[in-house]
């Protein structure tokens, strides 16, 4: 694959050394990170549905928050998870955190909540308290079975899971304000999944129709989850980094919501009615931080494909 000076240019363009491509990619995905670039964003319908679903939850209710992401998909899922948690925190919604796809996921999620709490404390707001606002149920190795058990009874599915109460005693999670009285899945208004695996399919299979479901998934899981969205099995869907940025944009501007100067920043035909945002809070996170860089990387991809095809064309012509 090495480049020789005498080769015709067509062949050269067709067989660039892959190491050169790799090097360019590293440069291209680093440099823009140092600059603050603003890019326009128009949220997708599926994310708009997700946001309106989150905003329509009654305050003080409890949602099941399934987290399946670890550091491996941090780039995509962190932004989504942060955005969802910010909404839950600001709307005083309780969350029961658990994972069926990765042992380390709950740990990562807890670290993330700690980080967000530090941010909240800096802003002088009440932190999102473990036990009274959220509990961690940990990891369930047999995802299929657990989801099936959840459809029968939450008490049975989460049996034996304990949390530390504020007074230091280790107690059953169902004694906590978060899960008290929620014996069955029907008392839960929403299941949120932030996933990087096909745990999404497991939830659809086992819990579809029994509880409203929204997902925030990685780009690669998007096409798999999209059919469920269009068939209504999932009520909202945020896909990849775009989904994260969409959620951040929606938090900033709301849906069909006139801003201070009367301009509707995010108009939607898909969603009728006005949903407010949180214009006075810090909404943007990794979604906005990474998105401009993504643009440049994608441009590189298109360029690489073009170069390859031009090379092929030239070679055929004998150039």
């Amino acid at each position: 694959m090495s480049i020789q000076p005498r080769q015709p240019i067509g062949k050269l363009l067709m067989s660039l050394n892959r190491r050169i491509l790799y090097l360019i990619l590293i440069v291209v995905s680093t440099v823009p990170l140092f600059f603050q670039i603003k890019v326009p964003d128009k949220p997708d319908d599926s994310t708009i549905d997700m946001y309106s679903k989150l905003m329509s939850l009654p305050e003080g209710s409890t949602v099941l928050l399934s987290t399946g992401w670890t550091y491996s998909t941090r780039g995509e899922n962190k932004g989504q998870f942060d955005a969802i948690l910010k909404i839950l925190m600001r709307r005083h919604i309780k969350a029961a955190l658990f994972s069926i796809s990765d042992v380390t996921a709950p740990k990562v999620a807890i670290e993330e909540i700690t980080e967000l709490n530090m941010e909240r404390q800096k802003e002088g707001k009440k932190p999102y308290q473990r036990w009274s606002d959220w509990v961690s149920l940990g990891f369930f190795p047999n995802g299929d079975g657990t989801a099936n058990a959840m459809s029968v009874s939450l008490v049975k599915a989460f049996e034996g899971k304990q949390e530390v109460a504020p007074n230091g005693s280790v107690e059953n999670v169902f004694n906590s304000p978060v899960l008290k009285g929620h014996d069955s899945i029907s008392s839960i208004p929403l299941l949120i999944g932030v996933e990087s695996t096909s745990a999404t399919t497991t939830y659809i299979q086992k819990l579809g129709g029994k509880v409203p479901i929204v997902f925030a998934v990685t780009g690669v899981m998007g096409p798999e989850a999209l059919p469920y969205y269009s068939s209504g099995q999932v009520s909202g869907l945020a896909i990849g980094l775009k989904g994260a940025l969409d959620l951040e944009t929606l938090m900033q501007y709301g849906i069909n919501n006139p801003g201070p100067n009367g301009v509707v920043m995010v108009p939607s035909q898909h969603h009728a009615g006005v949903v407010p945002g949180f214009p006075n809070d810090k909404n943007y996170g990794t979604g906005l931080a990474y998105f401009p860089t993504l643009h440049v990387s994608l441009a590189l991809l298109i360029l690489a494909v073009l170069v390859g095809n031009i090379g092929m064309y030239m070679q055929r012509r004998g150039w």
Binding site: L33, F34, R74, E76, G160, S169, Q269, S297
Partner: protein, 254 residues
């Protein structure tokens, strides 16, 4: 050493590991090999830890032995005793049967635990099949004739009253009907591509087959496009970690 300082060292180790893995992009080398083996070692080690802490303790040990009641003291509420279910112990000898696999004569016994795992899994596939695909079948049954001829495209509902907008949503416009027809056609053609036991001789079926393959490629292209776009995020995240979180914020405190 303060926790903040520790974090910088921790990140430094992560950066080193990242560089180690990236070095394979140039070529396979000892630096990469070192981190690869360390990674697998840590992963297997972690599985051994998680084996007990995440699965066996809660799901098995705790239920099998139960717990005594803990009396409350100093304002801390006590905990009720939990029952012990001895039958969970039966699983241990069954699990141990798996270890006969290396024995040439009695290795058939390992099929008992394996059979249980596969059996449960197979049963589940039968159970969930319709729950997974039923709603998708229903959704594919889209109306392929328009219910109105007033407009070809769906009208703009942005400035409509809510009631009117709802009305528009319940109407099938010609453009939608065409899309729905294409949807059903694609689905049928793709399904026909996956018929294995018929020798396709009829021209129509063969045409459907080829069309099915092309339409499949549209689908795959769309998957590739939407996935590829997001995969770059991962490398951007790594670079953010190395240059912004570690170097800029960690080392130089900017």
């Amino acid at each position: 050493m303060s926790y903040q300082n520790y974090l910088v060292y921790r990140m430094g180790a992560g950066v080193l590991a990242t560089i180690g893995f990236y070095s394979v992009l140039y070529r396979e080398n000892k630096f990469y090999r070192f981190f690869e083996h360390m990674y697998i070692g840590l992963a297997v080690g972690y599985s051994i830890v998680a084996l007990w802490t995440e699965t066996l303790h809660d799901l098995w040990w705790h239920r099998m032995l139960g717990a005594h009641a803990v009396p409350g003291a100093n304002g801390v509420p006590g905990q009720p005793a939990t029952n012990a279910h001895w039958a969970w112990m039966l699983l241990l000898p069954i699990g141990l049967l798996g270890y006969t696999v290396f024995n040439k004569k009695y290795n058939w016994l390992s099929r008992i635990p394996i059979g249980m795992i596969i059996g449960f899994n197979a049963g589940q596939q039968i159970q969930i099949w319709f729950n997974q695909y039923g709603p998708q079948m229903k959704d594919s049954m889209r109306p392929i004739f328009p219910t109105t001829i007033k407009s070809f495209f769906v009208p703009d509902t942005l400035h409509m009253a809510t009631k009117q907008a709802a009305e528009v949503k319940n109407t099938v416009y010609a453009s939608q009907a065409i899309n729905n027809f294409l949807f059903v056609l694609t689905l049928t053609c793709v399904l026909s591509y996956f018929l294995f036991s018929f020798d396709v001789k009829s021209k129509v079926l063969r045409g459907m087959n080829t069309l099915g393959r092309w339409l499949l490629m549209v689908g795959f292209g769309a998957i590739f496009g939407s996935t590829v776009a997001m995969r770059f995020t991962l490398v951007i995240d790594r670079m953010y970690f190395i240059f912004i979180e570690f170097l800029k914020q960690g080392v130089f405190h900017r």
